[in-house]
């Protein structure tokens, strides 16, 4: 039904102005993977701004000791909402949103396997996100911070039990994420089914773009590790509403059990966030270096390895819980082991750039910064895997700096690169290179001022999640510098938003293949028709468009 109306709509949209209600209706009822992909990414970016504002309030409060920008209770809500929003309402929707948009195009399919399930996944995610933010209006209402949760994004028990956190705040956190998690599992099912059963002619698994492999990996990871979070949340629900004792230490339960369940989800979750970022880099760096990806098979194998080994590392978040030396050593070992496939990817990308002819378009600028920042993030991760060193660094600002290097320095940077890279395909218009450069430089400088510096107060003994700190610890100047990185990042984001808005109307027409790239999504119009391809191309290598452009030297025999 909606395929037909989408087609008619795209024909109509070429010309006259249509009533807003009709346009909205189209978007609301769509099951087209491209529209849903855009909706996921746009929603994620909106939540990024919201969570960014929360972070800004946090940094203003911490810029010096003893400030009263926000009261302690509100501060605790801010860091909880910031972390929860960023992980669940920004990271996940954006990476699965890109997956939504790109996977069918990249493998030569016309949509995902279950289009209506796809729509369901989006709307339930949005509902969860809105439910979580509705908490600001609960309780005493917006002025008092509402009933927004103040339990930290990983919600350790027994602080989350009713005895210690009465009221509904924890329940907003619990239910919103439970519901959104269902959507994520649904999307994972969709992705796996699509990739396994709907590849176009000639598109063997070994010819799929790396980004598709990354989506496949994070999808089977999701199936295995997201339900444990759901289970823990159901247990918390039962504790809080039916008087169960899963995490009630007064009844003999284990507070540590929540941590095991949560981190069994939580650690692979960060790989779920990061792997698509690696996928973006693996598409952008070859095209901008004018060279085929170096070592496709090892890179794909490394991703699978990260997924597998990554499920055995979770208790490196628990080195100070008192698990005993044997377990501490075991998890240190598995964490160091997972660093190997993660690290060697950098060499794949270096090998790709080596001998190439690198063009520094905006997508590539973001990927270059990603390479350095991801290296830093990985190395501080190695430091954290050394359990005794971890005993000092964990729960301090060092770890906060580390994971922001991973999630912003690596993931958000590759996401920005991806947006600049695929915006032309999605909209038919180029983003402004000039504004893109302003965005890049402001953001990369601001990011590093904030987060490179942030390692220092951690090493000077500053714990995380404190709404203020004593004046005599020597932390003030460092916190001030960290806060001073904020305006540049905000300016960068503002210019980014302006770039999008302006380019939607006045960006240069993109054409089918503005970057001279090689994967299937560039073999159709920009934007693609609702059915993706007039005729699904037959592929005989990993770079179908390279083969078309270089019939004298196709990829096939080399692979």
């Amino acid at each position: 039904m909606s395929v037909l109306s989408d087609t008619m709509a795209s024909r109509r949209s070429a010309g006259a102005h249509r009533p807003l209600l009709a346009v909205l209706h189209e978007w609301v009822v769509t099951v087209d993977h491209k529209r849903l992909g855009v909706m996921y990414v746009v929603s994620g970016l909106v939540f990024l701004v919201v969570a960014g504002l929360e972070a800004s309030a946090i940094r203003l409060q911490l810029a010096w000791s003893g400030l009263h920008v926000v009261p302690p209770g509100t501060f605790n809500q801010l860091f909880t909402m910031h972390g929860t929003t960023m992980v669940f309402l920004v990271g996940i929707p954006i990476v699965f949103g890109f997956g939504n948009y790109l996977v069918p195009l990249m493998i030569g399919a016309r949509d995902l396997a279950f289009p209506r399930l796809n729509a369901f996944g989006f709307w339930i995610f949005l509902f969860g996100g809105l439910l979580l933010h509705f908490s600001f209006l609960g309780g005493e209402g917006l002025y008092g911070g509402g009933a927004a949760p103040a339990i930290g994004w990983f919600a350790y028990a027994p602080l989350t039990e009713r005895a210690f956190t009465p009221g509904n705040a924890t329940d907003y956190w619990n239910l919103a994420l439970l519901v959104a998690g269902v959507g994520t599992v649904a999307t994972a099912v969709n992705m796996i089914t699509t990739i396994l059963t709907m590849r176009g002619p000639g598109m063997t698994l070994g010819r799929m773009p790396v980004f598709v492999w990354e989506i496949a990996t994070i999808s089977w990871l999701t199936l295995i590790i997201l339900p444990p979070l759901t289970a823990a949340q159901i247990m918390l629900l039962l504790d809080r509403f039916l008087g169960a004792h899963f995490f009630d230490t007064q009844a003999g339960a284990s507070a540590v059990m929540w941590q095991h369940f949560f981190w069994f989800f939580g650690h692979p979750e960060v790989y779920i966030l990061m792997l698509p970022g690696f996928g973006f880099a693996s598409e952008i760096i070859p095209v901008f270096s004018r060279k085929v990806l170096f070592g496709y098979v090892t890179l794909v194998a490394a991703s699978a390895g990260i997924g597998l080994v990554g499920m055995s590392t979770w208790a490196h978040h628990m080195f100070v819980v008192g698990m005993g030396s044997t377990l501490n050593a075991a998890f240190a070992a598995s964490t160091m082991l997972v660093a190997v496939p993660t690290g060697v990817k950098i060499f794949n990308w270096l090998g790709t750039m080596y001998g190439g002819k690198i063009r520094f378009g905006t997508p590539m600028l973001f990927c270059c910064a990603f390479l350095f920042q991801f290296l830093c993030a990985g190395l501080t991760g190695i430091m954290l895997s050394v359990a005794p060193f971890n005993w000092q660094l964990t729960d301090s600002y060092f770890v906060v700096a580390h994971f922001h290097f991973v999630l912003i320095g690596a993931l958000v940077f590759t996401i920005f690169g991806a947006i600049y890279y695929w915006f032309p395909k999605v909209t038919g218009r180029m983003l402004s290179e000039r504004l893109g450069r302003w965005h890049f430089w402001l953001f990369v400088i601001g990011f590093n001022v904030t987060f490179l510096t942030m390692h220092v107060p951690g090493m000077l003994g500053m714990p995380r999640r404190i709404y203020t700190y004593p004046a005599d610890r020597g932390w003030e100047i460092w916190n001030l510098v960290v806060t001073l990185g904020l305006p540049m990042q905000m300016a960068g984001i503002l210019i980014f938003v302006i770039n999008i808005v302006v380019s939607l109307r006045r960006g240069a027409p993109a054409g089918d293949d503005p970057w001279d790239a090689w994967t299937l999504e560039w073999a159709t119009t920009s934007p693609p028709p609702v059915y993706n391809f007039d005729v699904v191309p037959v592929v005989s290598s990993r770079r179908p468009l390279w083969d078309l452009k270089h019939p004298d030297d196709p990829d096939g025999p080399h692979e």
């Binding site: 209770g73 350790y156 830093c376 050394v386 729960d395 714990p463």
Partner: protein, 332 residues
């Protein structure tokens, strides 16, 4: 006895708290961790220089030149030897790193408790630290006094960590790595401080509203000073005649439901032990200095000094407030 100022680790001892840097250790577990940290920083530093250097080189050497002819460069699909090498070498580095790490893990956590060791039990509460010396019969709060340890004949302190409510974390960066304080679980940590002085730390696991206000002071004292302090703490509460009225008032109010004053009928365990309240430098777990004005303000309305503190405002009349304050000020 006079209130001690907070000595710092340098010879001056002018009461200035020093920055609790993990790279300024004063006790054995922290020394060992710094050693390990420097090894790890060395290894990761070399990796960073090599890989970042290669990246910078690649970006500069292989940028598209202005006079580029537009032809695609030679396409290199991979290299089995290279890919093998860059997998095997990191694995070797990881193996070495793991072996070093494991040695330190077992050495630190497996340290047996010697008979000369001082035993302390610390119970974490929202948002203060209960500190007990079981063999010495001392109960205090928020300040840990320990004797300095001579490396030749170590006298470490072994601390048993428990929680009365939610998860907290005990962290004095200059003395040891942190250890979580978990309800229904008993954890152990040890410190072996070798420099007299005052060391600060605080709760390192988010535990609710005043997580930021759960500070810790560790006073490492010479053996003589520690013995003097311990003897003073072991004594029952002072019974000065001038504050008789205050003591009777205190005993008749709900104060005694939460607080203990050894030698009187106050034996509550929900709040800090007040027997030698005035021997401590701070109140409210490090949030404010222990001065008569602050004591008075605290009793009147704790939340005005530490929002969310679980002690209720006592709503005493000015006269009663004066009497109770005078009594507490006498608990030296």
């Amino acid at each position: 006895m006079a209130v001690l100022t907070v000595p710092n680790a340098t010879a001056g001892g002018n009461g200035v708290v020093q920055t609790p840097s993990i790279f300024a250790p004063a006790s054995t577990p922290a020394f060992a961790i710094r050693e390990l940290a420097l090894i790890v920083l060395g290894i990761t530093g070399v990796i960073f220089v090599v890989v970042a250097g290669l990246t910078v080189y690649a970006l500069m050497r292989f940028r598209r030149r202005r006079d580029d002819d537009g032809r695609e460069p030679p396409q290199v699909y991979g290299s089995r030897q290279l890919e093998l090498a860059w997998t095997v070498i990191p694995i070797l580095i990881v193996v070495v790193l793991f072996l070093v790490t494991a040695r330190y893990i077992f050495a630190i956590e497996g340290r047996p408790q010697s008979p000369e060791a001082l035993e302390v039990t610390i119970v974490g509460h929202q948002w203060w630290w209960e500190i007990r010396y079981p063999r010495l019969g001392i109960v205090t709060a928020n300040e840990l006094h320990v004797p300095v340890s001579d490396p030749a004949h170590p006298t470490p302190t072994f601390i048993t960590l428990q929680s009365a409510d939610v998860i907290h974390s005990f962290w004095i960066p200059q003395l040891a790595g942190k250890m979580d304080v978990i309800p229904n679980k008993t954890n152990r940590i040890w410190i072996d401080p070798q420099e007299p002085g005052g060391y600060v730390g605080q709760c390192a696991e988010y535990c609710g509203l005043q997580h930021a206000g759960m500070l810790l002071i560790v006073a490492v004292q010479s053996k003589e000073d520690f013995a003097k302090w311990a003897a003073q703490q072991q004594a029952p509460a002072r019974n000065d005649a001038e504050v008789q009225a205050g003591r009777e008032l205190f005993s008749s109010l709900s104060c005694i439901n939460c607080h203990a004053v050894r030698g009187t009928k106050a034996n509550g365990v929900f709040g800090p032990d007040l027997t030698h309240l005035m021997s401590r430098w701070t109140i409210g777990a490090g949030v404010i200095q222990n001065t008569p004005e602050n004591i008075r303000a605290w009793i009147d309305d704790p939340a005005s000094l530490k929002p969310g503190a679980l002690m209720p405002a006592m709503k005493l009349s000015r006269d009663d407030l004066d009497k109770v304050t005078a009594y507490l000020l006498a608990l030296r």
